[in-house]
Structures are given as structure tokens and as C-alpha cells.
């Protein structure tokens, strides 16, 4: 068991290191891209005021000190004020985060629940016409950029058929600082098109991945030996092949789901979904540095956590990795 805890600690330390590097990048952005003072006040403001401001903000201190201060504030969620609309970044984020997280959750659900079985199906029955059609559809799926999918869906369902909304979240219910769209009919409706749009690319990716892995596994010696022992097709395919396929799939799928949060940027733009992604793209267009650097740090945190979880999951699921110490001890008696 100590090995496992040691693993968690090791990975966590790595995560912290990555976060520090990211924080450094964010900090550099913050302080050195353009002039923070210029970004905060207009051109007409006098030089004396600027110098004063600079001093009071601590911008003349040693860079390391500034960095320390930055990290200290960041850990508390304090990222300064947005250049674009003078609202504190942290409250902007709090406002937008639930929208993105709900969207990502819906998309992840769709992608996994449809993608994995589809992949298994197209591997097992790969010679059937239906599987080949699915293969072709999956190729189209990864050739469709997310924004095209979104626009197409809007065109068909919002403009032509007029049954689903094309922008916004619908009605949302406030619970504490969280706003949710799950509890209203219009909220749920508003989630459908963006959810599908966000999910589609990942769904096809997962499907293709699962199919490829499964085909690889089906060629393995132990599958051959399982057949040689007379095990039923069901046991060979669904007990042995699927389980072995899932192990590498879990890691990659976990990372894919993580990248959903990045792809949300596109989906939110197409559907004017008031989430983190839309916030970020507006920040890039406007060169709103505080928001950009806050987003960067937040996303990095998200990814580090996901990587950690996926890594640990992998160790739990694959017995070959969990007990390297004890197997060496159990002796190698021929």
C-alpha cells in the first residue's frame, strides 16, 4: 500500500511543478506583455500618476518578489481585474464556470456512452456492412470541425425546423454560487445542440481508438489460447478482449475528456454560450491579459488533476503495475 501512496505523492509533486511553470508563464504574460499600467489606464493619464500607480502596485519590486506575490494571490483565486470590463477576474470566472462545466459534463457523457460501445461493436463485427458504415461515419466525424458541426446543427434544428434554441443557456436556477440549467425545461433544451456539437468530435475519436485497440487485442496470443481452450465467443470477446482494451483506453479517454474543456471554447463561441471558453476567446481578441492568465492557470490545474486521476486509475486497473515490489519478493522458483 505504501507504494501506492508514494505514487500519489510523486505525481502530486510533479503536478505542483507543472503548475509552477504555468504560473510563471502566466505571470510573465501578466507583467511583461505590453505595459500593465498602459492597459489599466488610458493614454491621457499623466506620468506622475503612472509612477505612483506603479509603485503602489508593487511593480518596481524584484521579479521574484512579484512572482511570489502572484502565486500567493493566485492560490487564493485573486487574479486582478479584467482590462475589458473592470470586473474582478475571479468573479467573472465564478459566474462563467458552471456553464462550461455543465456543458462539458453533458458532452463527456454522450461521448463515452455512445463512443465506447460503438468502438467495441465495429471491432467485433468489422466485416459486417453496418460496421463499415459506422467506420465511414467515424471518418466523416473526425473531418468535421466542431464549429461546422455547430453551425450545421443550428441550421437544421434552429432555422429550418425551429425546434431547438441556437444561443444562450435558457433559464437557469441559482444554487449557492452555482447556476444550473439542468432543472428547467428550457435549460435542458439549450444544452442539447451545444452538447452534441462538443461531443461529436470526441465521440468519433473515442470510437476509433476503442476499435483500433480492440483489433490489436484480438490479435494477441492469449486470445488465441483462450479460443484454443474452447472458451465461448462471449467469454473471449466480452470478458478478455474488452477488459484488455479498456486498460489503455481509460488513460487516453480520460485525457480526451479533459480536452473537452478546451474545445468548449469553440462550441461556446458558436452558440454564444456564456462560459469560460467564450470569456477566454474574448480575452484573446481584446488582449485582456488578466483574464488570459487566469484562464491559463485554471485550465492547467484542471489538466494536472485529470492527468493525476487518470494515472492513478491506470495503476489501479492494471495489476501488472500495482505490485511490482511484492512480485519480486515472491521468489522466482522455476
Amino acid at each position: 500500500m505504501t507504494g501506492f501512496i508514494g505514487l500519489i505523492v510523486h505525481r502530486a509533486l510533479q503536478g505542483v511543478l507543472v503548475m509552477l511553470v504555468v504560473a510563471l508563464i502566466a505571470f510573465s504574460l501578466f507583467n511583461y506583455v505590453g505595459d500593465p499600467i498602459n492597459n489599466m489606464v488610458g493614454e491621457e493619464v499623466g506620468e506622475a500618476y503612472r509612477t505612483e500607480l506603479r509603485e503602489s502596485l508593487g511593480l518596481n519590486d524584484h521579479p521574484v518578489v512579484q512572482f511570489g506575490r502572484f502565486v500567493g494571490r493566485a492560490v487564493q483565486g485573486e487574479f486582478g481585474v479584467s482590462y475589458r470590463n473592470a470586473i474582478p477576474v475571479s468573479s467573472l470566472i465564478a459566474e462563467r464556470l458552471p456553464a462550461t462545466l455543465e456543458l462539458v459534463a453533458v458532452a463527456a457523457f454522450i461521448a463515452l456512452v455512445l463512443g465506447i460501445p460503438a468502438g467495441v461493436f465495429s471491432a467485433l463485427y468489422r466485416n459486417r456492412v453496418s460496421a463499415q458504415i459506422v467506420q465511414l461515419l467515424s471518418l466523416i466525424g473526425i473531418s468535421l470541425p466542431t464549429f461546422v458541426t455547430g453551425i450545421l446543427l443550428i441550421f437544421v434544428f434552429s432555422i429550418w425546423l425551429n425546434i431547438l434554441p441556437s444561443f444562450g443557456r435558457g433559464e437557469v436556477v441559482q444554487i449557492g454560487w452555482w447556476t444550473t440549467g439542468f432543472l428547467t425545461a428550457s435549460g435542458l433544451q439549450a444544452l442539447i445542440l451545444p452538447g452534441i456539437t462538443l461531443a461529436l468530435f470526441q465521440l468519433t475519436l473515442i470510437m476509433r481508438l476503442v476499435r483500433a485497440e480492440m483489433l490489436e487485442v484480438l490479435r494477441a496470443d492469449f486470445i488465441r489460447f483462450a479460443r484454443a481452450r474452447g472458451l465461448t465467443d462471449r467469454a473471449v470477446y466480452f470478458r478478455h478482449a474488452v477488459k484488455n482494451t479498456m486498460v489503455p483506453v481509460i488513460t487516453i479517454t480520460g485525457l480526451q475528456i479533459g480536452s473537452l474543456i478546451a474545445f468548449a471554447i469553440i462550441t461556446e463561441t458558436v452558440f454564444q454560450w456564456p462560459g469560460m471558453g467564450l470569456l477566454f476567446i474574448q480575452a484573446v481578441q481584446f488582449v485582456d491579459i488578466p483574464v488570459m492568465s487566469a484562464y491559463l492557470v485554471l485550465i492547467a490545474l484542471f489538466f494536472v488533476v485529470i492527468n493525476l486521476v487518470v494515472d492513478l486509475l491506470y495503476h489501479v486497473v492494471d495489476p501488472r503495475l500495482s505490485d511490482t515490489v511484492s512480485s519480486a519478493k515472491s521468489g522466482r522458483v522455476a
Binding site: D221, G230, A334
Partner: protein, 329 residues
């Protein structure tokens, strides 16, 4: 090791088996007409170089050929029943319960994500309707038979927790757990340490004697054949070129290829200046051949050998596919 097992009821009969592989739009033959038979309890060795077709032969008998390799002609009978035409559910029931197979690499033969106990129990319960507890007991008994220490505890271990030799014992247990009448062992010791090889071969022999199982032992190692097999079939380029009781073949090989094989084994008593070898190389799979396949490398080749393919000449007990045999009759 008993000598010949002559006459009487045959367990397995293979008649003129031909196997080919489809590459692009052509067909290349791998096995060009092999006929063999085994009696109950007999151990038959199939020996030859890599590429001679012996592994494919084993897979063909067990019905494990996979596209694009397929049987193109011939018949296989087990206890007088035709088995090469079986498919689907019937074929599945045959495997494991009537014919067991052991592959070369024990590490890759076992599913790394299931304990060996699980894999044993599932095999037993696939073929016999017994309770989990009964299957567990049976599996445990078998593990002990194969000489794995602390078998009770080891049932819950995963394949990667065993050493190579131990793993092969597990594989043997798996192949024998439902008491098949025939076991086909394809290079069972090649992937193991030399020190372990002998143990595994002896174990295989003992288990099969105890259970009355026949064995087809496929290998390129004459030492293994000498140790374990009653009869031996020598394969070359997809055909059996010599067949007979092991002792006789080793002492008195008749086919020039077999003679070359025997001669190339370094003697234990003196150190030769040069190792003997058979010059040349076995022809590649699929080349159409006129005359005897071994002719280019044969020191005793005659004019006839270039134009006529020799059949197995001799009797049921001992035969050789060489025109020289005719002179011996």
C-alpha cells in the same frame, strides 16, 4: 519412453492435409500433403527447421487456422470422427475438451488481467457444468500436479507474478484441466531457460502418462524429441520426409536431411574443428518445386530427384520420402 505403438485403434488420423496462404490474389502452399496418425497415449514429435510448416500443422489439426491461412485439402479424424469440417459451436466444444494446445510463449498466452485461478476455473466451467467451488478444487489439484508450490495462495496471483517456467506449468495445467485426449504442444520450451526446459518436458511427459493423453510435440530441438517422443516425423518444406520410432531415427536416419540433422548435432565426447552443417537453405514458402525439395542440398542426389517428387516409401512403422529408399526395399 516406450518404443513403437503399433497397429490397433488410432486416436488421431490426418490424411493428406494441405494448407495454403492467400497473399494478394495468389495462393502459396505451406503444407503440401501430410498424413500422420497417433495412437492413444503416444507422444509424437514433429521436428524441422523454422518455416517447415510444423506450427501450421499443429494449428490445422486443432482447427485454429486464421485467415489468410486455410486448409485446402485433406481430412482429420479423431476417434474415427471427422473433425476438420466442424465449425462454430461444435468446434468450440472440441477444443480444450478433446484437443488441448500449448503455445510457445507462456507470458503472452495468459491474460494479464485475470488471476490464474480465474482462468483455470473459467476453462473448467466452460466445458463442465460444475459449481464454482468444485471447479476451484479441481483447478487446485491440477496446479499441485504441475508442481507449483503454495498452489492455494498462487491461485489468486496474476501471470506476471510467475517466472517463465512456472508460467508454462500454469499453461500446461490450463491445457489439461478438462482432460483432453490429445495435446498439441507447439515449441513449449523454446522461450524458456535451458535449465527449465528439461523440467517442463519431463512434466509434460509425466502428466500425459498419468492422464493417458496423446501428445504432438512440435519443436526444432532434437534433444527434446530424443527425451520425450515415442515416434518422430521429420518435416521439410511442408512435407514429412521421414517417420519412425525415435530411437531408430536417431541411430539410423535414412533420409539425407535427417542424416544431416543428426550429423550437425555436436558430439559430447570430442571437440570437432568445425561444426557440421547442411549447406544451403530450405526453400521459401510457396515456391513451386519440381522434384524433391531437398535436392539442391542433398549429397546423394540422383537424376531422378530433379523431376519426380518422392512419396513416403516404407511401411506404417517406418518410412522415408527419398528415392534411395527404393533401393532398400
Amino acid at each position: 519412453m516406450s518404443g513403437e505403438t503399433g497397429g490397433g485403434h488410432k486416436l488421431l488420423e490426418v490424411l493428406d492435409l494441405k494448407v495454403a496462404v492467400d497473399v494478394r490474389d495468389q495462393q502459396f502452399s505451406i503444407i503440401k500433403g501430410v498424413s500422420l496418425s497417433i495412437a492413444p497415449g503416444e507422444t509424437l514429435g514433429v521436428v524441422g527447421e523454422s518455416g517447415a510448416g510444423k506450427s501450421v500443422f499443429g494449428s490445422a489439426v486443432a482447427g485454429l487456422l486464421e485467415q489468410p491461412i486455410r486448409k485446402t485439402a485433406g481430412e482429420v479424424y479423431l476417434h474415427g470422427n471427422r473433425i476438420d469440417t466442424l465449425a462454430g459451436e461444435e468446434l468450440r466444444r472440441l477444443r480444450g475438451a478433446s484437443i488441448g494446445m500449448v503455445f510457445q510463449d507462456p507470458l503472452t498466452s495468459l491474460d494479464p488481467l485475470f488471476t490464474i485461478g480465474d482462468q483455470l476455473i473459467e476453462t473448467i466451467r466452460t466445458h463442465k457444468s460444475v459449481s464454482h467451488a468444485e471447479a476451484h478444487a479441481h483447478a487446485l489439484k491440477l496446479l499441485k500436479e504441475t508442481g507449483i508450490p503454495a498452489a492455494e495462495r498462487r491461485m489468486n496471483d496474476y501471470p506476471h507474478q510467475f517466472s517463465g517456467g512456472m508460467r508454462q506449468r500454469v499453461v500446461l495445467a490450463l491445457a489439461l484441466c478438462v482432460d483432453p485426449q490429445l495435446v498439441i504442444a507447439d515449441e513449449p520450451t523454446t522461450a524458456l531457460d535451458v535449465s527449465v526446459q528439461a523440467q517442463i518436458i519431463r512434466l509434460l511427459g509425466r502428466l500425459c502418462r498419468d492422464h493417458g493423453t496423446s501428445v504432438i510435440l512440435i519443436t526444432h530441438d532434437m534433444g527434446v524429441i530424443a527425451e520425450a517422443c515415442d515416434n518422430v516425423a521429420v518435416m521439410y518444406a511442408g512435407c514429412v520426409v521421414e517417420y519412425g520410432p525415435t530411437r531408430e531415427i536417431i541411430r539410423n536416419p535414412r533420409h539425407p536431411y535427417t542424416r544431416g540433422l543428426m550429423a550437425s548435432i555436436p558430439p559430447l565426447d570430442k571437440r570437432p574443428d568445425r561444426l557440421q552443417q547442411i549447406d544451403g537453405a530450405m526453400p521459401q514458402v510457396g515456391l513451386d518445386l519440381i522434384g524433391c525439395a531437398f535436392r539442391p542440398r542433398c549429397p546423394s542426389a540422383m537424376a531422378r530427384c530433379a523431376s519426380e517428387v518422392p512419396q513416403l516409401i516404407g511401411d506404417e512403422r517406418r518410412s522415408s520420402a527419398c528415392w534411395l529408399e527404393e533401393d532398400n526395399l
